[in-house]
Symmetry: C2
Subunit: 347 residues, 2 copies
C-alpha cells in the first residue's frame, strides 16, 4: 500500500483566511467554524467547494473471536442482524445520514459466517477474527488486506467525486480490540482505556480489562500492522485504510468514536502527517476516548456524549463541516454588502 | 403580558424515554441527542413531530445610546447596514438558516433613525435607547412594549405551525447592555461578565467595564422589567418576550449567544419555570457567557467558540435538535428490525 501523502500548500489555508476576514462579521467571530473551513480548503485546495458536499459513510462490519471471553453485553449474532437493519435504513447511522445528506454503504470485512443481502459490499478479509487472548486475531496478510479494503473504497469514492468521507463500523465486541490497539500504539494502560462498550457491568468491565492486559503482555509488536493483526480487527484495519486512502486523494475524513480512533491511531502510526487530513467528529463517551483525543491533540466538532459508533457522531459533525463551507462560499463580503468594517483589536 | 406558563406532563417525557429504549442501539448510547428528544417531547407533548420542523429565526435589531461612550469596535451605522444584508440573505445567520431549513425574519425594534426595506418587520419601540450611563435606556412602557413584540411574534408563529423558535439580534454596542442586564439580574460583577464584543482592545475593554459598573451603581432596580428599562435594550426585551411567548404555546426556543442569554435571564426572572421550555444552542466565546451558562445549569448543544450572535449558534444547534427528533421518529425498534436486545448493565 502507498502511504506517502500529498504535500499540502499553506497558501490554500491563507486564501481561505483572507476570504473569511472579508465576510460581514467581526473577524474570527465564527470561531471553530472558520477553522474547519480553512482546514477543508487546505486539505482539498478548493476555495469554493460545490455544496451540498457529496458524502459517503462506510459502515465496516466485523466479528471478534474475543467475544467468547464475555466482553460484550450483546450476542455475536447482532452484528449480522444489524447489517440487515443498516441495509433497510433503520439504524442510527441511516437516520443521521438522511439528515446530513450522506449515502451509507455497508461493507462485510470480517463477519462470522455468510451474509447475503442486496446492497452489501462483500470484501470479507476473515470470517471473524480469532480470539486474541489465545492466538493472533488475524494474519499479517489479513491485516494488510483489511487496510487495502478501506484504502480502495476511499480512492474509488474520490474518483466518484466524494468530498467528505465518514468511517463507520459495526461489530459486537469491537471496543475490546480497539482498546488493545490504542494501548499498544499509544502506550496506554488498559485501566485507562478499556470501557463498558455497549453496556457491561462492573464485574464484566474488570474482566474485559484483564483480557486486554493479558493479550498485550502476550505479544511483541514489530510495527503498526503487526498490532492490527495480533489484537485488532478487520473493521479497524478498513477504517485505518479509509483514512489513508482519503488523505492520498485529498478527501477529508472525519474520525467518529472509539473504534474509529483505534483505526486512526494505526493510520497515524503509518503516516504521521495524516493529522492534517482529518477532522474529529466528536468525543465518544467510551472510557479512554477523552484521554486519546487529548493525547492526539484533536478538537471534537461536537460533544454530545455519544457512544453508538456506526459513524453516527462523525456523520452528524459532517453537517457542521458543510455549514462552515457554506459560510465561506455564501456569506457576503463587506464590499458586496456595503457594510462598514470595524476597527478591531489585532490579537 | 401573560406570564403563566403551561404545566408540562412528565408522562410525555417518559413516553419518549420508552420509545428511545426500544430503538436498535445500546440504551442511552445516543447521549445528549436522546435528552434533546425527550425534552422536546416533554415541552410539546408530541411524540412524533412532523419533520423537517418548521423553524423561525427572528433577528431583532436595535441601537444603543451607550455607544457614544466608545464601547464598540464598530460604528452605529452598521446596525442599519446589516439589516439590508440580512434582508438580502448575505449575513451569517442567513447562510446557517439555509443549512438548517429555517426562515429568517428581521424586526426593527429599536434602530436609530428610519429604516425602509422590503420584508422588514417594523415594531420600533424606541429610536435607539438612551445612553444609560446618563439616563435610563428606556422607559418602563418601552421595555414592556419590547417584551410584547417578542411575545406576540412567538404566539403568532405558533399559530402558523412553527415548531422551533430561534432568537437572533443585531445591534452595535449590544454586548454592553447585555452585560449590565446579566450583572443586575444574576448579581455578577462587571469584571467577570463584560467582554470584547465585536473586538475591542484592552484599553477599551477596561473602559467598557467601568461604564457598566458606573451604570449599575447609578440605579436601583425594583424588578426585572426595571432592569430591562434602565440598562437593557429593545432587542434584549424582544428576545425575552420570544422566550415567554414560545413557552406559553409550548414551542421550544433555543438560546443563542451573549445577548440571547441576557434576554433569557430576564425571561427566567419573570417566569422561573421557563427553564423547562428552552435549549441552549451553544456557549458564546464572549467573556462571561461560560460563567452564566454554568450558573444557569444549562448544557450547550454545540461549543464552537462562536461570538457572532444574530442567532447563528442557536440556528446551527437547531439542526441537532431536529436530528434528535429524527432518531426518535425514524429509527427501527428491536422488534421491527429483528435485532436481539442486549443484556445491559442498569445504571
Amino acid at each position: 500500500m502507498e502511504i506517502r501523502l500529498p504535500k499540502l500548500n499553506r497558501a490554500d489555508y491563507e486564501r481561505a483566511q483572507r476570504r473569511l476576514d472579508n465576510l460581514t462579521k467581526p473577524r474570527g467571530s465564527l470561531g471553530y467554524l472558520e477553522e474547519l473551513a480553512k482546514q477543508y480548503v487546505y486539505i482539498t485546495g478548493e476555495l469554493f467547494p460545490s455544496l451540498p458536499l457529496k458524502k459517503h459513510v462506510y459502515v465496516f462490519a466485523g466479528d471478534h473471536g474475543v467475544v467468547e471471553e464475555g466482553v460484550s453485553a450483546y450476542p455475536q449474532e447482532v452484528t449480522k442482524q444489524m447489517i440487515y437493519n443498516f441495509l433497510a435504513g433503520g439504524a442510527g447511522i441511516n437516520v443521521i445520514a438522511r439528515q446530513a445528506g450522506a449515502e451509507v454503504f455497508v461493507v462485510d470485512v470480517g463477519v462470522a459466517g455468510e451474509v447475503e443481502a442486496e446492497g452489501l459490499i462483500k470484501r470479507k478479509v476473515c470470517p471473524g477474527t480469532k480470539n486474541f487472548l489465545k492466538e493472533p486475531a488475524m494474519t499479517r496478510k489479513e491485516a494488510e488486506t483489511a487496510l487495502q479494503v478501506g484504502f480502495d473504497l476511499a480512492t474509488q469514492a474520490a474518483e466518484e467525486g466524494v468530498k467528505l468521507l465518514i468511517p463507520g463500523e459495526m461489530g459486537i465486541g469491537n471496543t475490546t480490540p480497539s482498546a488493545a490497539v490504542i494501548c499498544a500504539i499509544l502506550d496506554e494502560k488498559p485501566e485507562d482505556i478499556v470501557g463498558r462498550g455497549t453496556g457491561i457491568d462492573d464485574q464484566a468491565l474488570q474482566h474485559k480489562r484483564e483480557v486486554v492486559a493479558k493479550a498485550l503482555s502476550r505479544y511483541q509488536f514489530k510495527d503498526p500492522i503487526d498490532v492490527l493483526a495480533k489484537v485488532g480487527g478487520a473493521e479497524i484495519g478498513a477504517i485505518a485504510g479509509l483514512f489513508l486512502g482519503g488523505a492520498s486523494r485529498r478527501v477529508p475524513v472525519i474520525i467518529d468514536g472509539f473504534i474509529s480512533l483505534a483505526g486512526y491511531t494505526i493510520a497515524q502510526a503509518l503516516a504521521p502527517e495524516i493529522k492534517d487530513f482529518v477532522f474529529l467528529g466528536h468525543c465518544s463517551e467510551e472510557k479512554g476516548a477523552a484521554k486519546v483525543v487529548k493525547k492526539l491533540g484533536l478538537r471534537p466538532i461536537v460533544d454530545l456524549s455519544l457512544r453508538l459508533g456506526e459513524g453516527t457522531g462523525a456523520c452528524l459533525a459532517s453537517i457542521i463541516v458543510e455549514t462552515a463551507l457554506r459560510i465561506l462560499t455564501e456569506m457576503a463580503t463587506f464590499d458586496d454588502a456595503g457594510v462598514t468594517k470595524g476597527n478591531e483589536f489585532e490579537e
